[in-house]
């Protein structure tokens, strides 16, 4: 893959829950090595967007591709048509997701949380998977925690295990849904530091966050979402420092007060 190839492309995505239209015509593209930040008020559809991108929800209409793999396209009547089981399975190898509340497997040790999917799903060699997990844990600042269970770790440590668990499957893009919202400020910083390091290594990432300073520093591009629409998008620093739309301005001003 060349340096700026599109890792994920979403076009004209629509999603409703009953009468509630949550995504109205959303399009976005993330290229290899890009970091995209998504910000916006509560209920704006950010999580729903990530859930559609990670196939936890299905789109009503729109086109979704991971690289050359077409996951979902729209038929003549405007309805979303998803690929078959094989396509979806293959698509799932291309992304990872880090949840707000970690969702680690509580009955597994830290090590097993990380190596289980590589071994069971990707049929990788257990010894190699374990070796790689150790390296990932060291990178996350969690060396020596291999045999602990999640409930013995702080929230910040749990979230870093969750990041390692996602990375162990070698995704082409890693999604984060408010990865630090369940953490107090000190623990937030340790998680943000890890994500910054990943960005420095040119990991492709899409991050829903309320940490504006972090978004400005780390993201290349930024989307401001409200009411299921992309209200404003552009270079992250530009949008945050010089928002063009009134709604973006009023949203960002609430963060400056803090």
């Amino acid at each position: 893959m060349t340096d700026n190839a599109a890792v994920v492309t979403l076009k004209n995505a629509r999603k409703s829950f009953g009468e509630n239209v949550v995504l109205k015509d959303i399009s976005l593209q993330v290229n290899q090595g890009d970091v995209l930040a998504i910000i916006g008020p509560s209920g704006g559809g950010k999580s729903t967007l990530l859930r559609c991108l990670t196939l936890l929800e299905t789109l009503d209409a729109g086109n979704l591709s991971y690289g050359d793999l077409v996951v979902c396209s729209t038929d003549a009547s405007g309805r979303a048509i998803y690929g078959g089981k094989d396509v979806l399975k293959q698509a799932k190898t291309r992304f990872g997701l880090v949840f707000q509340n970690f969702n680690l497997f509580p009955h597994y040790t830290v090590m097993k949380n990380i190596i289980d999917a590589p071994i069971v799903v990707q049929k990788r060699n257990p010894a190699e998977a374990e070796e790689e997990a150790r390296q990932l844990l060291a990178k996350m600042g969690l060396a020596g925690k291999e045999n602990m269970v999640p409930c013995e770790l702080s929230g910040g440590q749990q979230q870093r295990v969750a990041i390692a668990r996602a990375l162990a499957l070698h995704p082409q893009v890693l999604y984060f849904d408010e990865p630090t919202s369940a953490l107090d400020p000190e623990l937030t910083q340790e998680v943000l530091k890890v994500i910054r390091e990943l960005a420095a290594e040119k990991m492709t990432m899409v991050i829903v966050t309320h940490e504006m300073g972090f978004a400005r520093d780390v993201a290349d591009h930024l989307i401001f979402m409200d009411g299921g629409m992309v209200v404003e998008s552009g270079r992250a620093a530009d949008v945050i420092n010089h928002p063009q739309h009134e709604r973006t301005r009023s949203f960002l001003s609430k963060y400056e007060e803090n």
């Binding site: 990670t54 196939l55 936890l56 399975k89 799932k92 190898t93 992304f95 990872g96 997701l97 949840f99 509340n101 969702n103 680690l104 497997f105 509580p106 009955h107 289980d116 999917a117 069971v120 799903v121 990707q122 269970v149 999640p150 409930c151 668990r165 996602a166 499957l169």
Partner: protein, 212 residues
């Protein structure tokens, strides 16, 4: 006297073990059927569970024992009572176990399924590796109650003429005109339950390495 009671004891243990071996896995299947989105299956399981829990086990045993003959005129051999006993206990207990499994399965947060889904686990891998182990930890106390009840319920097999421990005690008490056989049987039932309580406590401790 002790010899006969011991023979009864062995049959009691056999009924107990066969019921657990059959009903513990069957209960999972019934629970999954009960939670199925396929409505006919869901309703079938609901009705099955309702009947099993809503009628006496003793009556169910009799129905299985004599049903084939009264309903279809099928003559079954003298061994049929053992099969009838095994089937009756298994399908009755599977219904109770199913409801316990169901409450356990429904208590597992959605996030666990979603995390497994995104990591690429199949449905069956998610259930066997992620959900079921957590369910087991959560349902040990409720299962323990049922299992203790089962120890004592095995005595219902006497209605089929099986010579389990209660039936042996009854026969001995009549022939020797004595309370002692009942007393001994009672002590043995209690000892079995006591051992099971110890095992359950041990299992709970073993699963206590994490909480969520």
């Amino acid at each position: 006297m002790l010899g006969l009671l011991m023979q009864g004891f062995l049959l009691t243990i056999e009924i107990f073990a066969v019921t657990l071996i059959g009903a513990l896995p069957l209960g999972i299947l019934v629970a999954l059927g009960r939670m199925s989105r396929f409505k006919p299956l869901q309703w079938l399981m609901r009705i099955y569970i309702s009947i099993m829990r809503g009628t006496p086990l003793m009556l169910q045993l009799m129905a299985i024992m004599f049903g084939p003959y009264y309903l279809f005129g099928i003559q079954l051999g003298t061994d049929w009572k053992y099969y009838a006993c095994g089937i009756g206990f298994i399908i009755n207990y599977a219904a109770y176990f199913a409801e316990i499994y169901r409450s356990g399965i429904q208590s597992i947060p959605r996030g666990q399924y979603e995390a497994a889904n995104v990591l690429g686990y199949s449905h069956s891998q998610t259930f066997m590796r992620i959900v079921l182990p957590q369910v087991i930890k959560r349902i040990v106390p409720a299962m323990g109650n049922e299992i203790i009840t089962l120890v004592k319920d095995t005595s219902l097999a006497f209605v089929l003429g099986l010579l389990e421990m209660f039936n042996e005690a009854k026969i001995l008490a009549a022939s020797e005109v004595s309370m002692i056989p009942y007393l001994l049987a009672g002590v043995i039932y209690w000892v079995i339950c006591f051992v099971i309580e110890i095992l359950l406590t041990h299992l709970e401790k073993k699963l206590d390495y994490y909480h969520d």
